[in-house]
Symmetry: C2
Subunit: 312 residues, 2 copies
């Protein structure tokens, strides 16, 4: 049974990935900063990924064949408030893993999760391919661009098998409510349950967003490690934009009572992630066979159902 | 009198720059990691550039109009032994300064010193311009490339006035003897003084290196801050390759006794810095009027004279 190490295992994507890889016959080693794992059946380490000695120790003990490096600061608001520490976590947290991989004897494959935010926005008329211009306009994007660039150095010069993603927006049941679909679904669930007055506060509703269901995303991550190539970057995306207005209408229709829409300026930044940037996943499809399977309506149904069961 | 802050002020280039800027009517604030400044007449802070709180404090107290960011790990051997800490110093040490600049009200100009090692090697037949392909093949180059990329983000998104150099090899009297000209000059001085048998150990002697006298380099740095442009990168170089064999012959002729040449494999890495990469300084010349003034023979004379006076 091969060992898959996941950094950021307690996160939304980390949890889904751990369950999926476990079902695909991997032994899961998880790292995160909380005292305990949210998953019961994995080998868990509370650790700071920037601490290279601790990382080396965990690698030595667990000898992972696959490393899924998900841990990162991705929240624009945390980056805005704590840019130095956010850069530190994203840069030094990745370099520590590259270094430990370099020194370890286990010939592992790393998936380094990057972001669509590495691309220049706005892109051209066509969905952006992996050869699109990399020119990030935000902290998170620039940190991920730097990590990919440094990672490529480790591939070229030290022959590490690192594969990179440029992951577009993803969502799904269990996502925190600072992401737009989850935020809106939660509010509709609160209204439907009589816990919020029939008014939903929204930010931007005019953009078309490339959303992929997180359950499709983790399948892409598994397939890139299984069938992808060393040093390559892969867009993980849906390939088409979904109008936020469509999502809002779809969700509000779940509630029998009429819901009024209240546009709030302060919600614009948080919700406008990669507005208008649509990806092309041809490369990922050709090399791994992956394509997104879950339609947005099922994603929204499941997010809504999750909130109905998890309102407190 | 405007305030110029120099990080890495105790280094070979930092000391020369401090003296020159002082002569050009700047008040010098120096930062380095040693307990004391090697220069007597500057305002000196012993500080870790990665400590953003301490950097903010120094900026608040001194309000520099000009920031010359020289502090970095540049030694290939230290990078090789301590890559994680070297990346930390080069990356986080620069990001801390960018962040402090962002928050400070003093509208300062920063010169961020980068390296020719950011370029892909070997380059084409012509001397490389600033539009040459950036694809570093060593730790130091990749760290400097990442810093320039992150710095460009701060220019574009936060309107900081950062100017970048891609500095080629430089040398001059007072340089440490782990650099090739200084190493050879010291050995010849030892032989001429009867302190070493008449045998000089060398690494690569076949390459042509783009060497600039460090006294010309610091003049370029001053002129970029004075006349250069925000967000631009400038090659600081001589524009032609000087054969290492010519340097070796020139130096060994200073000693009346015959010197035998002993090629040592372990010296190759250290001495082969940017072997064969020749820069083009047209941009720097056009925008600032700079051109190298000191011929290599004078540089070598002065290095040799320095060693004759500083052999212990």
């Amino acid at each position: 049974m091969s060992v898959a190490l996941i950094t950021g295992v307690n996160g939304f994507v980390g949890r889904l990935l751990a369950k999926s890889l476990s079902a695909h016959n991997r032994k899961i080693v998880g790292i995160d900063i909380q005292a305990k794992s949210v998953l019961p059946d994995i080998q868990y380490y509370k650790a700071d990924i920037c601490d290279i000695d601790i990382m080396a120790d965990i690698f030595g003990k667990t000898q992972p064949q696959e490393i899924y490096h998900l841990a990162a600061v991705s929240s624009p608001s945390y980056f805005h408030t704590e840019p130095f520490n956010s850069f530190r976590i994203n840069l030094m947290g990745s370099i520590s893993l590259f270094e430990v991989m370099k020194k370890s004897a286990c010939n592992s494959v790393m998936l380094a999760v990057g972001s669509a935010k590495q691309y220049q926005e706005p892109a051209g008329a066509d969905p952006v391919t992996e050869s699109g211009i990399l020119n990030p306009s935000g902290y998170y994007g620039v940190s991920k661009y730097a990590v990919e660039m440094i990672g490529r150095y480790y591939v070229q010069q030290h022959n590490l098998d690192i594969r990179f993603t440029r992951s577009f927006n993803h969502t799904g049941p269990g996502q925190a409510d600072n992401f737009v679909c989850s935020d809106w679904a939660r509010q509709v669930a609160l209204i439907a349950s009589g816990m919020q007055k029939p008014e939903i506060s929204v930010g931007n509703t005019k953009a078309a967003i490339d959303f992929t269901d997180a359950r499709d995303v983790i399948e892409a991550y598994r397939l890139i490690v299984q069938n992808g190539r060393k040093g390559e970057a892969y867009n993980v995306c849906n390939g088409k934009g979904i109008d936020l207005k469509y999502i809002l209408d779809y969700l509000t229709k779940k509630c029998p009572s009429k819901i009024s829409i209240c546009v709030k300026q302060e919600k614009f930044d948080v919700n406008a992630a990669n507005a208008g940037l649509i990806g092309n996943y041809d490369k990922l499809h050709k090399e791994t066979g992956w394509s997104p399977q879950i339609p947005i309506e099922k994603t929204l149904d499941d997010i809504y159902a999750w909130w109905i069961n998890n309102l407190t």
